[in-house]
Symmetry: C2
Subunit: 571 residues, 2 copies
């Protein structure tokens, strides 16, 4: 009746974390209930100023294909306008678990998991993922090799515990964190990352747009046990004082290198927002709502030139390949309202993302594809079907989608509906939406609410897809519920604290947690108990389903009344 963190030996010497929930025996000691192992994203824990140990460093160095180098010289503008204005920033005390110098591929070497997988190599990262997912390592290798899954693992983020994103794996959840020019501090963001991974976030994206962008990211990466994603155009924009028209390929390129060296594991790149698509948004109800999409649209319009992200895409592939940074090809033209769902602007961009996927794969760079947004239920499946077709089964990574626009304040729910469905249809990772979406920046409680709503959606999708082992968790909890093992039910819950506290609100006394009744019906009558009486009666008399009817239960019913006693015993 307790949760503990355990490490299970995986292939290739890996040690893989799980949350183990130990269970009480069934009532009367009828049978033992084996412990349940739950996927665990929370990491080993760290002192924020020291960072995590570099779990993957020996694996990375052991492959002999990377070299340390001095790295790009830091610049004042890396921390954005506030740094340029001379404001003090609390620097991360060291490089933490990463190398004193950044790593990159040796000349002529490819260091991506896609490259290894394609040449038939099962890496320690793949072995770790396989153990986490309960799969054969060879299956993981095949998924990565085919491009159906990615394993985001920058050589400069050795602190991360390997995970993979693909539709034949468990559905994953991303939590967005990061400051804005309006609110929040560096330490708050580290705390949000920890809080998000505690509740099950599989990756985090640092979407900072305000002060101290470089330094905030450093603190987060050094402490993050999960892959970290970013949108480099946000930082690039800060470097040019927020003037989209001032952006250049050189500034963008430099920002990407800066982030590769820091250890960012995947980057959202809105290279599909082409000049020709911008006018397609003019008659929409909500135009362009992606921040990155609108930055690039503004740049294209201001210069009347094709997007520099599109024209320099091959060069970008070369950079990302050197660090094993994965592409998350952004959907800059995603719909911002149900009215705009699945329109030509969205689909034109999607086709371009399919074309870019093939380019990236030629460079051995891993790719996933971002998707919407706001989509009514009947238009969700089309998104997945089209994405799989035009993007050659590269993993899909969607924001929700929200299934209605009318409930700001509850968009974790409007979108959990869409997220569960799109996960079932084949989306590999779900980007969470918090209750504050459209209204404000999420605080700690919003982050928790968003992550849990999305873990529910992801798990519901795993169940519907029949992922091996997914239902064992449900069955263990339902059995505990049916047997009134209250503590087991709490501990098996996605959020044990909340489950326990809700129960205590109605029935605060300790005995209620061992009682064979609950607050809904009270001690005098309980449907679960009757049902158990039925079962025990059937079992005691060796009566199976149809048999019972055949045998006739008249005589047995008399026994039931006499032996089972009244159906409503006082507890």
């Amino acid at each position: 009746m307790a949760r503990t963190k355990i490490y299970v030996d995986g292939p290739l010497g890996t040690r893989v974390p799980f949350t183990q929930v130990s269970l009480a025996p069934s009532p009367g000691g009828r049978e033992e209930n084996p412990p349940v192992l739950l996927y665990d994203t929370s990491g080993p824990g760290s002192d924020a100023e020291v960072g995590l140990a570099p779990l993957r460093r020996p694996w990375i160095l052991g492959r002999g294909d990377v070299e340390a180098y001095p790295g790009r010289p830091p610049q004042a503008r890396d921390d954005g306008r506030s740094a340029a204005a001379g404001r003090a920033v609390e620097a991360f005390p060291g490089r933490g678990g990463s190398s004193p110098q950044p790593l990159r591929a040796k000349p002529g070497r490819a260091v991506t998991q896609l490259h290894y997988a394609r040449r038939g190599q099962v890496t320690e990262e793949m072995a770790f993922v396989a153990a986490r997912e309960g799969l054969d390592p060879e299956v993981v290798r095949q998924e990565v090799a085919s491009g159906r899954a990615i394993l985001p693992a920058n050589v400069n983020h050795p602190e991360s515990e390997p995970m993979a994103i693909g539709r034949n794996l468990l559905v994953k959840v991303n939590a967005n964190i990061g400051n804005s020019s309006v609110t929040s501090s560096v330490r708050e963001e580290v705390e949000k990352m920890r809080w998000a991974t505690r509740w099950g976030a599989d990756t985090v994206m640092d979407l900072s747009t305000g002060r101290d962008i470089h330094t905030t990211r450093e603190w987060i990466i050094r402490n993050s046990p999960v892959p970290v994603g970013t949108v480099p155009i946000y930082q690039a924009l800060e470097k040019v004082g927020g003037q989209a028209a001032e952006l250049t390929w050189d500034i963008y390129r430099d920002t990407v290198v800066e982030q590769c060296e820091q250890g960012v594991d995947y980057m959202t790149v809105h290279a599909g927002v082409r000049l020709a698509y911008v006018p397609l948004t003019a008659r929409r109800v909500t135009g362009i709502v992606s921040r990155g999409g609108s930055i690039m649209a503004a740049w294209c319009l201001a210069h009347h030139r094709e997007s520099f992200l599109y024209t320099h895409f091959e060069e970008l592939c070369e950079i990302l390949a050197s660090y094993d940074v994965s592409f998350s090809l952004g959907d800059g033209l995603r719909p911002g309202s149900v009215a705009d769902a699945n329109d030509e602007a969205q689909l034109a961009e999607l086709r371009t993302l399919g074309e870019l996927t093939e380019v990236a794969w030629r460079h051995d760079v891993q790719v996933m594809i971002e998707g919407p947004g706001h989509v009514p239920m009947h238009k969700i499946k089309e998104n997945v079907d089209l994405q799989m077709e035009v993007c050659h089964e590269a993993p899909f990574y969607t924001l929700g989608p929200l299934t209605t626009d009318v409930a700001p304040g509850y968009d974790h729910i409007t979108s959990a509906i869409g997220a569960a469905m799109i996960g079932w249809y084949g989306t590999a990772m779900l980007c969470y939406v918090t209750p504050k979406e459209h209204l404000g920046l999420p605080d700690r409680e919003d982050v928790k609410q968003g992550v849990i709503a999305y873990k529910i959606a992801a798990h519901a999708a795993d169940l519907a897809k029949g992922h091996p082992g997914a239902q064992a968790w449900d069955d263990a909890l339902s059995k505990a519920r049916f047997e009134f093992r209250w503590e087991d039910q709490f501990e098996l819950s996605m959020d044990p604290e909340t489950a326990r506290s809700y129960h205590d609100q109605t029935l605060p006394a300790q005995p209620a947690k061992t009682a064979h009744f609950c607050s809904m019906c009270g001690p005098k009558f309980c449907s679960m108990r009757i049902s158990q009486d039925v079962r025990e009666y059937a079992a005691a008399h060796g009566v199976g389903a149809e048999e019972a009817i055949e045998l006739g239960m008249k005589e047995k019913s008399a026994e039931f009344v006499a032996a089972g006693g009244e159906l409503y015993r006082e507890a």
Copy 2:
């Protein structure tokens, strides 16, 4: 920029309530935005001790087919064990808006909406529903006549504002209230009913199982502007001291008459739990979880006889027909875990409910069919398809379903996912689930959270089904959002208070609510604003979608930079 309650003249002299949301013009007075009318379930409001005015009395009496009669004499046990034990109960001060004596059909007359509809009569009730739903009254009549919709309207609940439940109408939401032997008081339950209808509950079910059952129900019905449902077996069980084996048809029958006279609009009857089906549940993970189902299963087992609800079903139809009480045929064998979904016990009962539907229809009694429960996503559609087939398209009324068992404390979310989907597939009414499900009795805040999660699910289903007019609400809100009409966005929200307070948490100052930016990106950059710049630029230059590309925008881009100025104006 405000919500007001208005009454719109409908056919046959009806006056139909709506919430009207007045909107501000678009920025710069570019265009007026017409007010939006939202479906309104909150009723005209009442003094709890007086009750509501009898809106429908003239319609009921005007048909000339009912008679007043002295009614069944009250009995001490009507208020359950506590009353029998002599505890004081606060009686409702009068009959409120209902007759001093109960009404019933005159001998030989049929008074159900199904009867009227079948003979081609559009009643005031149907006219009211048509105006609420934006449909032709003849369409409503046809839906009721075919049995595809029900219009629950006991002649003894004249206070109710007519509504109908059917898959070609808006998807409806029910909220369960009621005390248990553990907690809560009469006035609390009236307050929960009001609170639930304020947030959009289309019906309420009084599931009281504790003290003062009769009196609590009287207070609720006299004050309820929405149809009230019950599960009469709960009260009958209290009358026999909680001993299921002691139940008899006479006690049950007497309880049904008592509730018909009070004004209950629909009753859950678990007549499909037949003796032969009980053993089918023995190998389930969670047995029988329906309270009514387990009561009847226990009775069947104890007596080894066929359920008295099944054997006396025709007599029950005759009683319900006299008051126009609708059947809600209960799913006593619904699955209580995803493991048990769609099993033979559940489907055997469903087939019996289909058989009983035809019996009820022969008596002109309106019928809906209750459904699960706990169902993983991939098994949801089968429930609707089977129900439509075997129950001849009688409206489906489901509890959730929960799409996973592992998140107690969040079952409003696990089930909103299933509810939205099953609503889209054709379920007519969704029974809410609150965050306290499986853990405790819902308090006021839980009721609100449950109702809103289900209004989201119902509206998402309306959108996906393409219900006429459903999307206009989304479009109005999204347009307000895109134009930074913050107050309009709040007022159009399903929960204006929460939307406003979340916004204020990040940007408390009043100017922020008129500012053309939000807290996500801050005043220096906003994707919505860029997008508007794009649109205004295109409009100003007469540039349409493809045109823009054809014309070439080089020259225009220079203008854009010069005229539109920088893209990031300070707010």
